[in-house]
Amino acid sequence: MRLTSQVRYAVLAVFDMAYHDIGTPRQARTISSRQGIPPRYLEQIFQRLVRGGILRSKRGPGGGYSLARPPARLSIGDIVMATEGSFEGLLGGGDSRLRRTTSAQATSRGNEEVWSAVVGRVTDTLEALTIEDLLRVAEKLGLEREAAGNMYFI
């Protein structure tokens, strides 16, 4: 299993949005610099997240991005689906070596069933883990938070 950088960046961006300051105009660019995500790439990811129902966007002056659901209702699985479209690529569907093995040796429907149990378990785990859970982890770790009026831009 390999999580793409797109999924990683999408999860970190959504987490960042929910973790840092509230009520002051925070810039999307701040997330870009803090998380080390190239701005153009972040924009693309945000657009996918909007299409996937994870974020809402408002255009024009005073516009921006917000979570479409509370953090407790946003799972990492939702973010994978919004950015990748499916779990296939993460779980071997795109692995040609695995495909060859599967088609040559089997015949073996058993293998597919066993593998689908793995896919099912990983999918369940990603769907059960929410942004709220990540906020708890960050709190517990004492991750420093951007303070009100202390925004930085590069």
Binding site: M17, A18, Y19, H20, D21, I22, G23, T24, P25, R26, Q27, A28, R29, T30, I31, S32, P39, R40, L42, E43, F46, R56, S57, K58, R59, G62, G63, G64, Y65, S66, L67, A68, R69, P70, P71, A72, R73, L135, R136, A138, E139, R145, A148, F153
Partner: protein, 106 residues
């Protein structure tokens, strides 16, 4: 009799007002009344949520269960009791790359 009781989920940046609690109880007929109620026990929260004119700050979203109250009746959204209210930050900016290249501040 009493006002409808709800559960309010507090985002990490505002937990300093709730003694670190993720969740606090509150009551009120509307979102606005609820904010006034929690302010009585957690002084300072109201100012972080509402601007000088008493409107919901631009980069604050309040969800009633899973719905953003801006898509309902905003602060006048009625509460029946039993709902989970979540306070969630939002961010400014769109076309990040473009603005950055032009050196502008959104």
């Amino acid at each position: 009799m009493g006002q409808p009781s709800v559960t309010v989920r507090i985002p990490p940046p505002l937990r300093k007002y709730t003694g670190g609690k993720e969740e606090v109880p509150g009551s009120g007929n509307t979102v606005l009344a609820l904010i006034a109620d929690i302010e009585t026990r957690h002084t300072g929260l109201r100012e972080r949520l509402l601007d000088e004119e008493g409107r919901l700050r631009k980069f604050v979203n309040v969800f009633v269960n899973d719905e953003d109250c801006r898509f309902l009746k905003a602060l006048d959204t009625e509460l029946k009791g039993g709902e989970t209210i979540s306070i969630v930050p939002a961010i400014a900016g769109g076309c990040i790359a473009l603005r950055r290249e032009h050196g502008g501040v959104a």
